[in-house]
Amino acid sequence: MSSRSEAPFRLRVAILQTKPSKGEYARNLGGAREAFAQLAGDPPDLVVLPEGGLTGYFLEGAVYDLALPAPRFARDLSDAWRSASSKPVDIAAGFFENDAGTYYNSAVYVHVDPNGERIAHLHRKMFLPTYGVFDEERFLSRGHKLGVFETRFGRMALLVCEDSWHSIVPTVAAIKGARILIVPSASPGRGIEGEGEGELESVARWREMLRMVALEHGVYVIYAGLTGFEGGKGMSGSSCVIDPRGRVLVQGSATEACIVRADLDLREIDLARATLPLLGDLAAVLPDLLLDDELPLPRGRRDAADL
């Protein structure tokens, strides 16, 4: 019997859709602690927080004041959870990372139990939006590696916000075996012309894109959206969970902090892939697509970027 079939088939996820006070990390961590206490009565297996979930997103130069080493951030999350519950939990959360003076927009996946915490994976955002209202690459460095990682619920990948807008990124994650994609995000809402049919157009577009990712690859997608207004730009929340058939299981508020919960039946992944075996087809054809001489890809090994 494979290890996968022995893994639990039920994953209870709770997205903590935060509305942080700009730059007030300690206060926002206190807010997370309160939310963890609220969850402790019926503890989930996995808690997910948005991009910049405990600092706010548009930080400009203040990112250097607020960025933390990943172990410190993981310990803060762990301490907050363990003050609320003695049950083990996994926590995935976005944060601004200070890695010895190099700064990243990162997300961490931490396993927490009564003895402490263990970082299962650290992902550094690869696509830093630097156009229009966004200015990330002015302040932050790019991540260079799309890793997938093992959890007690199977293989997962973390994609931070724009990472998931490039269809090749979720595609590569799925090809590398990810069965659950976690997307911490901070999306300034826009588009009130009515094309979103009662929702902001940017919210509708996000969800459609994530639905297509889930449907194409037969993966669960857990999207955690930041909320709250930052200098007039309203982060559009709308955290959601999408099943491997592209169905939206639950969606949160666009404007308010909230908890978005879903029970994932992980057997759905195999069933969805059996019904629509696109991922297997892609794995077979991918070499023909990527080993194409006409693609502008470097030949040979990348060294410096291998983090």
Binding site: K22, G23, G56, F58, L59, E60, G61, A62, G189, I192, E193, G194, G196, G198, E199, L200, G228, F229, E230, G231, G232, G234, A254, T255, E256
Partner: protein
Amino acid sequence: MTLQIFESAAPAAAAPSIDPALATEWLVAFLRDELIGRRAIRRAVIGLSGGVDSAVTAFLCVRALGAENVYGFRLPYKTSHPSSLADAQLVVDALHIACRTIDISSAVDGYLQMEPDADARRRGNVMARMRMVVLFDQSAKLDALPIGTGNKTERLLGYFTWHADDSPPLNPIGDLFKSQVWDLARYLGVPERLIEKAPTADLQVDQTDEADLGISYARADAILAQLLLGYSDAQLLERGFTGEEIALVRRRVDATHWKRHLPTTAMLTSTAINEFYLRPVDY
């Protein structure tokens, strides 16, 4: 057998649309977040001109804060049209908000009597700035925040007095074109007379915006919406606009970028504020 033909729509030439319910929900959240959440201020001060922009702003503030926390001010000058006062009163009556009328004539004339040659443009600017003096002072008195009422169209066309209409720290409608403000006004229940009347700055006798600008808001908004998306003059001509109206709009936008920024400060150090030292407005 004739086959059904499906055709893509012609390029848009209409003024931008709006989902008013969605915009209202978003703007009420914005006002609550920025006023109560961020600043712990529960009261708003709004200058009611009798026009649709300040009416929409007042309606939004009442939804966000409650009528008891919204303070209207009518600030006539001696040449203001009497109907402006009456139209502002329609907003007060519809919303049941407190309202005070403060005549700015003596304050404005106290200065202008020393400048008898000031032309209409200068006189209008003094009136607009005096209104802001009053609104900011009344906000300090009432522990409130003045709320801006400038729309996206007038901001883009530079059709406002710098450091006057644009000076309140919050503006809920500044990213809405005038046409969208009208749609929003209908949804919010702004008295019909304010939606139907010709928009006017009322800084000169019998002035109207569209006569001043030389183009209707509907046409200007349609051009602006396309222009902001980066379409060229040739593409705008294809959409049915005339060369004259395209040039008029583009000239006004290009000549007024400075009005949409803070003052230009000489940079002398590598810690220059807002150049090197970058902190968000809400940090």
